[in-house]
């Protein structure tokens, strides 16, 4: 029998060998000011609860959730609030941020770091702690985790999935976590299972990480409710829909939540954060970041406090071997290109990938020859070639008719296209247009 996987997908160059064998290095004493944008998650921006001049402690809440789908922001250092001003974020926009001057003492809020027995907590207490800790999906989307852990019908949930596939090229932070902190991953998953009585826990890992599979399998041997599922190495295996399909055989579309298919999916880092919030009384104030790419002198994995400037990470990795032409926050398939390193680490940052050459800049687009490769790689079973025609004619209705909104923007079609058409890029734009149109229509009603 073949390994579990999904239909379609691609095999990009993995690039993981650069940093996969580098143990996580502590980079917990940031030199510059810390920057905390109030929008590090999907949903309403958080509302600052501190003012310039206030003194804050490590773990102290400095902005609170601004709605149901929103998340608190906690300070990762102790020091003085210097300013509330707009700062550059990964997506190129300027977002209201709380700037904290680090006093270097790392005084924590009382009780932080103390051990707590998860089994003594009720379900509601667990959800409240997760909310207070400001935990969001750390795989990139940033969906508030407490909301995810509160589905309509908790008895309908029969799978809690830890996404350890890390299919995006160059990323190695989840891999390092599975090797170095398996206890926390399993601990976090057990807390999730405490919330869902009928669920079993599955840790999904791609077969290009045999060591991580071994470590995790060893660790779950005596856990009756938890198993490790080995998945075929293929991009985008770690996409939520592909993951759920590979493990459960269930299909989720854009109008559904994973919970509608009885699944709760969280990535490795998120599960660790849950564990730390519950068992160690520590909110989400740090994360693991891979700094890699051919332009970096010493590619490595760092443990950093949120709010640290990207520039500090680059410096800690020995700086640039050669001037990069392109720097990505994330990997080459879905990462965002950034034009400045004066950007803070947020809850959803995972990797800084620096390339000497921007490999897509030099290739001209040629006419589509309708080879159909985009159709065969699309994990959503779409016809990118026809969707692209709709984009070029700015035909919103046709785009919707072709199920364009099901596109997960994984980039497979653009990756494979021999004519180098900007398929994914155009779909992202078109999806925004459709979204705006739908909003307008909803407003009319």
């Amino acid at each position: 029998m073949g390994l579990s996987t999904f239909k379609g997908g691609i095999h990009p160059y993995e690039g993981k060998e650069l940093s996969m064998d580098q143990p996580v290095t502590e980079l917990m004493e940031p030199a510059g000011d810390l920057v905390y944008p109030v929008s590090q998650h999907i949903g309403a921006p958080a509302k600052p609860v501190v003012a310039p001049g206030d003194h804050v402690l490590v773990g102290q809440r400095i902005a609170e959730a601004g709605g149901f789908i929103s998340a608190h922001v906690n300070s990762s250092v102790s020091g003085t609030v210097k300013a509330l001003e707009k700062r550059l974020m990964v997506n190129g926009s300027r977002v209201l941020s709380i700037i904290v001057e680090n006093d270097g003492r790392y005084d924590a809020v009382p009780g932080m770091g103390e051990h707590r027995d998860p089994s003594s907590l009720s379900k509601q207490e667990i959800r409240d702690i997760v909310k207070d800790a400001g935990i969001v999906g750390m795989g990139g989307a940033g969906f508030p985790t407490n909301v995810k852990l509160t589905p309509k019908d908790e008895n309908a949930i029969d799978y809690c999935i830890v996404n350890g596939s890390e299919c995006e090229p160059y990323l190695t932070s989840d891999y390092r976590m599975m090797l170095e902190r398996p206890d926390e991953i399993v601990g976090g998953l057990k807390i999730m299972l405490q919330l869902f009585d009928h669920a079993k826990g599955v840790i999904g890992i791609e077969d290009n990480k045999p060591q991580a599979i071994k470590v995790m399998q060893e660790r779950v041997k005596n856990e009756p409710r938890i198993s490790v599922q080995v998945l075929k190495t293929k991009y985008p295996q770690g996409g939520e829909r592909s993951m759920i399909y590979a493990i459960t055989g269930r299909k989720v579309n854009s109008s559904m939540l994973p919970a509608d298919a009885g699944c709760i999916v969280d990535n490795v880092d998120t599960v660790i954060s849950i564990y730390r919030a519950i068992a160690e009384k520590t909110p989400l104030i740090e994360r693991i970041i891979t700094v890699t790419g051919d332009a970096i002198k010493k590619p490595c994995n760092f443990r950093v406090r949120t709010g640290t400037a990207y520039q500090e990470l680059i410096d800690a990795a020995g700086g640039f071997k050669e001037e990069p032409e392109k720097i990505l926050s994330g990997g080459p398939m879905m990462g965002q290109a950034i034009f400045s390193l004066d950007i803070p680490v947020t809850k959803t940052s995972s990797t800084l990938t620096c390339f000497i050459k921007d490999e897509i800049a030099r290739e001209p687009e040629t006419p589509c020859i309708r080879c159909g490769r985009c159709v065969s790689v699309c994990p959503e079973n779409l016809v990118p070639q026809m969707m692209m025609d709709a984009c070029e004619q700015r035909d919103v209705d046709e785009f919707e008719k072709l199920n364009g909104m099901e596109c997960i923007e994984c980039g497979c079609c653009s990756f494979i296209c021999p004519a180098r058409r900007p398929l994914t890029q155009s779909f992202k734009e078109m999806k925004r247009e459709v979204g705006a149109k739908r909003k307008k229509e909803a407003a009319k009603k």
Partner: protein, 326 residues
């Protein structure tokens, strides 16, 4: 620091990563694969049919490339000769020519293929008919006498010995399957040697330039049609499969990206459709052969097939239900 490039993801392409600075998956590389796949049958054709076959090949390819260059130059369009698609068209057209054809005929065909069918409709990717096939059909109608004369020095010039196996099958005569498989029969330059064609087809399949769907379904449909409406005789059915341009057409012409459906289900429907047409033309038509016409007609309904076979998106159920729910 110098300016950083910013663009929307993805930031990488197939086979263009470290150590592979030159991408080798572009349109040009696909065309090159198709050219390589046609080399065995071209070599066989030249060896069997001699000098004129060689000249036809050279002249047709050269004419296609020159017409494309000339047209784009005159109309100030970007020059696309480098993508090798004109070479592919030229080769397919030449391989569809009888071995003793006067050279001006394929050159006229090249003009029709490149200028009329391809460029006037907008160039690569825009033509709704396979240019080489359209040109062949055009020549079949306008120069029928030359186009159906398959006599050649290798088989003698009298009409009986130069009757193609297709004509023999039509007359319900027996055929020698082995020589049909190897190619020791009269026919067009590139269609005769099935073994050489299958080597090329295997290469295209391994390189994933084409999928099995259209060729396999097409050939199977023709075989079934021949069995039902022709004769319930294995050597007759095999003769229909190996005869004429079916193998060449199925692997090299019916798989043309531009003029066939892009959807997997559409490709199956397309293949069944042209299979039925081919069987119809061969068994009930006046001529002995029908592959070219069948594929051309298939090309014309491709957009229609494509529109009605858009796959159901992952996680979605049949469209109609959803529409009804709304």
């Amino acid at each position: 620091m110098k300016m950083l490039n910013v663009s929307s993801s993805p930031h990488t392409h197939l086979r263009s990563f470290f150590g592979h600075p030159e991408p080798n998956d572009r349109t040009r590389d696909i065309m090159l694969d198709v050219i390589i796949a046609m080399i065995p049958t071209s070599v066989y054709g030249v060896i069997q049919f001699g000098l004129n076959a060689f000249l036809v090949l050279i002249a047709t390819v050269a004419a296609c490339v020159l017409f494309e260059y000339w047209f784009e130059k005159v109309h100030h369009k970007p020059l696309t000769v480098g993508d090798l698609s004109a070479v592919v068209t030229g080769m397919i057209l030449a391989l569809n020519m009888p071995p003793q054809i006067p050279l001006w005929i394929p050159i006229l065909g090249a003009f029709f293929a490149i200028v009329v069918v391809k460029q006037l409709f907008g160039g690569l990717g825009q033509n709704f008919m396979n240019p080489a096939l359209a040109a062949r059909c055009f020549l079949l109608i306008s120069c029928a006498r030359f186009m159906t004369n398959y006599s050649s020095p290798s088989f003698g010039f009298d009409s009986t010995s130069s009757a193609t196996p297709m004509a023999a099958l039509k007359a319900k005569q027996g055929v020698d399957l082995m020589s049909m498989f190897i190619g020791r029969v009269p026919g067009t330059i590139g269609e005769v040697s099935k073994i050489a064609l299958l080597i090329g087809a295997g290469y295209l399949l391994i390189r994933k330039v084409i999928s099995w769907r259209i060729p396999v379904v097409y050939i199977a449909t023709v075989a079934l049609f021949s069995f039902i409406f022709g004769s319930q005789n294995l050597s007759y059915v095999l003769g229909e499969v190996l005869g004429g341009g079916l193998i060449f057409g199925a692997f090299f012409m019916a798989t043309d990206y531009v003029t066939t459906p892009i959807t997997p289900a559409g490709q199956i429907i397309f293949a069944v459709f042209i299979g039925l047409l081919t069987g119809l033309f061969r068994i009930f038509g006046t001529g002995a052969e029908g592959v070219s016409y069948a594929i051309i007609l298939g090309n014309m309904i491709s957009p229609l097939i494509e529109k009605s076979t858009i796959p159901v998106a992952f996680g979605r159920t049949k469209k109609k239900k959803e529409a009804a729910a709304k």
